[in-house]
């Protein structure tokens, strides 16, 4: 029909990944995963083989089912989405018998995202995930849409250190801490997380944002504020990765924020990330994560030095 597409990639043909990476010792088929809040296996599986991705980071799970925030939960910003789901999820027990075994059965590399309203919540979830089949755990201390836990921990290096001191002895699994950009200096919580046992860091979670209805003068989202994601946040995420890489030369970093093309993923890798995750772009096209992975795989052909570093678990800077 229309033919404005010069680099057509058939996402459904067999593809041998040329450029793997490693994050905290865990091999990824390629450097592209899904970002936690936007991945629900039951929905995505109809669109493509998610085991093709470098990793699948699943939606945050809590000790018991959470119903999340009231609606409306979303609105739009310039080149962005605002969301305030509030971590609605069916709980860790459901995850262990449903999403996780299904994803492992198809050969996906799985990152289980851990949510909590308090330290005890996080501990309870990590205890249940300590010996599960997930390849990595990601501790969500950066959700802006819950009143307790989430971002309130990730913005406070002391609280984050205390939480990590509790979680670290509970499991040998590689533990990623997902950081919020809603801080003055992201290297401070980054350093606290690493000094207290994080094996890797992922960044950024959403930025705090709000839109108002100018007819009523009231916020559009029922939670009033939401998390901003999408292409608009790209420079914020890249700067976060660059600053943390500069401050902490050794820690594995997963770059997140505004990635919808292979080129943008590449930018994060040049900023010092070992891998990236694709989030909001999946709201604009379900196959976005796989397409970004395929585009990046081709872009890395022309960048052998970067590709070699990633394969060895190292980074550009």
């Amino acid at each position: 029909m229309t033919a404005n597409d010069t680099n057509h990639i058939n996402l459904y043909e067999d593809h041998e990944w040329k450029h793997p990476t490693k994050v905290a010792g865990v091999p990824w088929k390629n450097p592209v995963g899904t970002a936690s809040g936007t991945f629900q296996y039951a929905a995505v599986r109809w669109f493509y083989d998610v085991s093709q991705l470098g990793a699948v980071c699943t939606k945050g799970v809590s000790p018991v089912p959470w119903e999340g925030n009231p609606s409306p939960r979303t609105t739009e910003g310039p080149a962005s989405n605002l969301n305030a789901v509030g971590l609605q999820n069916p709980g860790v027990d459901h995850y262990l018998v449903d999403d996780l075994p299904k994803l492992k059965k198809i050969g996906a590399t799985v990152i289980a995202n851990v949510a909590g309203h308090c330290d005890e919540d996080y501990c309870e979830v990590v205890a249940k995930l300590a010996d599960c089949d997930a390849d990595m755990l990601e501790i969500n201390v950066s959700c802006p849409n819950v009143t307790h836990g989430g971002m309130s921990v990730g913005t406070d290096p002391v609280a984050l250190s205390k939480l990590m001191d509790k979680l670290r002895p509970m499991t040998d699994k590689p533990m990623i801490v997902k950081l919020t950009p809603n801080v003055t200096n992201i290297t401070e919580p980054a350093r606290a997380a690493v000094e207290h046992g994080a094996d890797a860091l992922s960044m950024i979670n959403t930025l705090l944002g709000m839109r108002l209805n100018i007819k009523t003068g009231e916020p559009i989202i029922a939670n009033r504020t939401g998390g901003v994601s999408g292409p608009a946040v790209l420079p914020v995420g890249i700067a976060a990765v660059y600053r943390v890489r500069t401050a902490l030369p050794e820690v594995p970093i997963i770059g997140i924020g505004g990635i919808d093309t292979g080129e943008k993923a590449l930018e994060y890798l040049y900023a010092g990330a070992n891998a990236v995750e694709v989030g909001a772009a999946a709201l604009f096209d379900p196959v976005a994560p796989l397409r970004v992975a395929r585009e990046l795989d081709d872009l890395l052909d022309d960048r052998p030095e970067l590709a070699a570093k990633l394969a060895a678990g190292q980074t550009w800077r």
């Binding site: 029909m1 229309t2 033919a3 404005n4 597409d5 680099n7 057509h8 058939n10 996402l11 459904y12 043909e13 809040g37 936007t38 991945f39 629900q40 039951a42 929905a43 995505v44 109809w46 669109f47 493509y48 939606k59 119903e67 999340g68 009231p70 609606s71 409306p72 939960r73 979303t74 609105t75 739009e76 310039p78 080149a79 962005s80 989405n81 969301n83 789901v85 609605q88 559009i220 999408g230 292409p231 919808d260 093309t261 999946a282 709201l283 604009f284 096209d285 379900p286 196959v287 976005a288 397409r291 585009e295």
Partner: protein, 274 residues
Amino acid sequence: MTFTRTYDVVDEAVAAGYFPPRHPVTITAIEELTTGVVRMAFKDPYIAEHARPAQFVNLFTDNEMMLMPRPFGVSEVNGDEVSIIFAVVGKGTENLAAKHVGDSVDVLGPLGTKPFSIKDKAHYVLVAGGLGVPPLICAAQKLHDAGESKVTAVFGYRDEKFADDIVAPYVDSLLSIDNEHGNVVTLLDQLESNGGLTAEGLDTVLLACGPLPMMKAVAAWAAKRGLACQLSMEQRMGCGYGTCVLCTIDTVDGRLKVCSDGPVFSREQLGWGE
């Protein structure tokens, strides 16, 4: 932005056993039905073949500032051509309404896991309010094609009756009203008092789509008479396919997603009119 590609992706996805991703289609018709209400048609063999009443399609603007999908209920299918009807309510719908025949627009669909259930032979009363008409037009068309059921349309409008001509060929009878003269409950009461609510040997089933107050009123009206009532719900939506969990509504089974747990819910599920 590299979302847009050729229609080939649909064939590639289907051949591999997957649901088609976002893809461009060509607009075949675009017209203003009344002030601020637009009918758009586009050619999409896959959506045309698979769309069921109350399913919707995501349309995307061509402005990189406005990336969120705009979900619209499918109103009619004619051959390979799929029609939608939408109101121009903001910048995104303005962008889409400014398209011309022959232009390309990106779509994803058909979406929505639970369409109206119209398999059983019955007397279907299609109740629509305002921009809730598309799923009912689609139901009317499918029921007309099947040719087994009796179909009565009950359409309420703010002012101009922009969808009457579209739905009329598909239904046995059509009652419509504008705000000045009443609402769909006025018409349902009329239908009942005229004996038009029942049809010999057929169960009466209400299908409804419209603004929330209308939906609650219709559910209560149906409940009072013990009639089945299926309601196609609307909510501010993100992805449209179940991954983002942004479009929830409260039901007796907890917070469910309009896109992938619905969009059709029974009055019992919604806890209305018990």
